[in-house]
Amino acid sequence: MGTVALDGARPRKRFLNTGFLVVLWLCLAIGVVSLIVLLVYVFVQGAPAFGPRLWRRFPSFDPAEAGARSAVFGTIYTVALTAAFAVPLGVGAAVYLEEFADRDHWWSRLIALNIQNLAGVPSIVYGILGLAFIARGPLGLGPVILTGGMILALLVLPMVIIASREAIRAVPPSIRDGAMALGATKWQTTWRQVLPAAVPGIATGIILALSRAIGEAAPLIMIGAFVYVPFMPTGLDSKFTVLPIQIFDWVARPQAGFSQLAAAASMLLLLILLGMNAIAITLRNRYRHRW
């Protein structure tokens, strides 16, 4: 027995091991702790003002009376418009790039590279684009809800395309071969087999992209979205505001009541985002295919 020594590394090595682990833990802790602090702060601050009046009352100069009804519905309508634009365009582009384009051609690779870069373009830049070409300029729609939806759609389009491409690529080629071998056309194969099989992944990507759109204030401020909107959006050409803009406005006011309202509205925004992410995760887990 005495010849075998299994008592492990020398103290110095063991110390380094532990030290390294501690550093990794710290990295993780900084991220998690700041998130928790933020959530707790928002919830403690906002809890007293949180309630149905947020989505029942319109904004007011009296913090005791004010709500965010126009912002809540403005957000819902804007995001619905964003989805209506971004989903067909994004999925269509992804289907073309994955199923029909020659993937190795320099032209396809250039497009793919550009889309990835576009996903990283700061949202304020999209705001400038929207101001110059949609709110004013050639389209001249003004700072209305349609403009907001179009701008946010442009903003999230690259994310939708990238997520959809990945979902489509994850459908095994054997599914396409199987369909084509039965005499299905390329289009029938894509529409009836590949897309349905990719839907869970595409839906997850869309929801995550839309939850980014919900949190955006900068591009909408840029196009001139209003801050004080004491009425419901009535149509595509209606003036509007959204929750992040409302929060930004309230935070900037001196009265204590408004900062409470800002925290409460942040709570609402966070709850909407968490809800959307929960849907995305559920979709991903429930419809995960085993091929």
Binding site: D102, D104, P172, S174, I175, R176, D177, G178, A179, M180, A181, L182, G183, A184, T185, Q188, R192, Q193, P196, A197, H289, R290, W291
Partner: protein, 300 residues
């Protein structure tokens, strides 16, 4: 023979006269065995390959193939891995079109019609010439929808229930799945999935069924069920099977083609057809020493 209307004219076993344009004489597999002959000329030729070659880009995968595939027989393509037998099979229903850079030269006629003629629609070719793949590849849908997909894309809307039942019955799967037609095809075992894929293929009433190592992912029991099924289907369909299992080729096929790889100058490997004959003759009395070497296990 309900499917006879939808298919090209053909002649049954031992029927004598033929309608195929390229037929020189009639010889049944049994009559061939023992006789020393070159390529046997079967009753009716479905595929006529002349100097066929397939290239991926500039690289030849298989070259110089002359082969007559007989109607309503099982023809096996055997040979070592990478010899191009799957490539050759995928030419027969133009599945190679889907591979970037794949190119076919030479003549490939289907009932005398050039399959690679520009006027030929590959979609129509694949409807008539079905394919079963190496790994079972059911669609991520119900058993019913797996079978109904083929008829649906071909415009069939009525009597789908009957078509599904008939296809599953013909593929010897009906009794096992009739109570769970709406459940996912992924719930089936590997062998059942492969029979589902065969049923899916039968549902579009093809003329030919190509099988690319259909049993290589299956256990021996599932394999023997598929082999039994192939022998039954042989009554009504022309079957071409690629297999790396020589026992399987010997058990089920009527004709066997042995393909092997040549190493050319510069180290490139190109597949070519060594010998094509009635299975019994090829396995008992091969005329090429390379065939003998392969079937007796000396290489490959």
């Amino acid at each position: 023979m309900t499917d006879a209307l939808t298919q090209p004219p053909r002649v049954g076993a031992g029927a004598g006269a033929t309608t195929g344009g390229s037929v020189a004489s009639v010889r049944e597999p049994d009559a061939v065995s023992g006789a020393v002959s070159s390529v046997p000329v079967p009753t009716d030729v479905v595929f006529e390959l002349r100097d066929l070659a397939v290239y991926y880009g500039d690289v030849a995968a298989v070259e110089g193939v002359d082969l007559d595939v007989p109607a309503r027989r099982i023809t096996a393509l055997i040979g070592p891995s990478g010899c191009g037998k799957s490539t050759l099979l995928r030419c027969l229903n133009r599945m190679n079109d889907l591979v970037d850079g794949a190119r076919v030269t030479g003549r490939l006629a289907y009932y005398g019609l050039d399959l690679y003629d520009p006027r030929v629609d590959p979609v129509e070719v694949r409807r008539r010439i079905g394919m079963v793949f190496q790994k079972p590849n059911p669609f991520p849908k119900s058993i019913y929808d797996n079978i109904a997909f083929g008829p649906r894309v071909n415009g069939v809307r009525r009597n789908l229930d009957d078509i599904v039942e008939k296809a599953l019955t013909d593929a010897a799967l009906w009794d096992e799945v009739k109570d769970k037609l709406r459940s996912s095809a992924f719930a089936l075992s590997g062998g059942q999935q492969q029979r589902l894929c065969i049923a899916r293929c039968l549902a579009v009433e093809p003329d030919v069924i190509l099988m690319d190592e259909p049993c290589s992912a299956l256990d021996p029991i599932a394999t023997s069920r598929i082999e039994d099924l192939m022998v039954e289907l042989r009554e009504r369909y022309t079957i071409v099977i690629v297999t790396h299992n020589m026992q399987q080729a010997a058990r089920v096929s009527d004709y066997t083609a042995f393909i092997t790889t040549d190493v050319r100058d510069g180290g490139s490997r190109v597949g070519h057809l060594v010998e094509f004959d009635a299975t019994e003759k090829l396995f008992t009395n091969p005329s090429d020493p390379r065939t003998e070497g392969y079937i007796t296990g000396r290489f490959g």
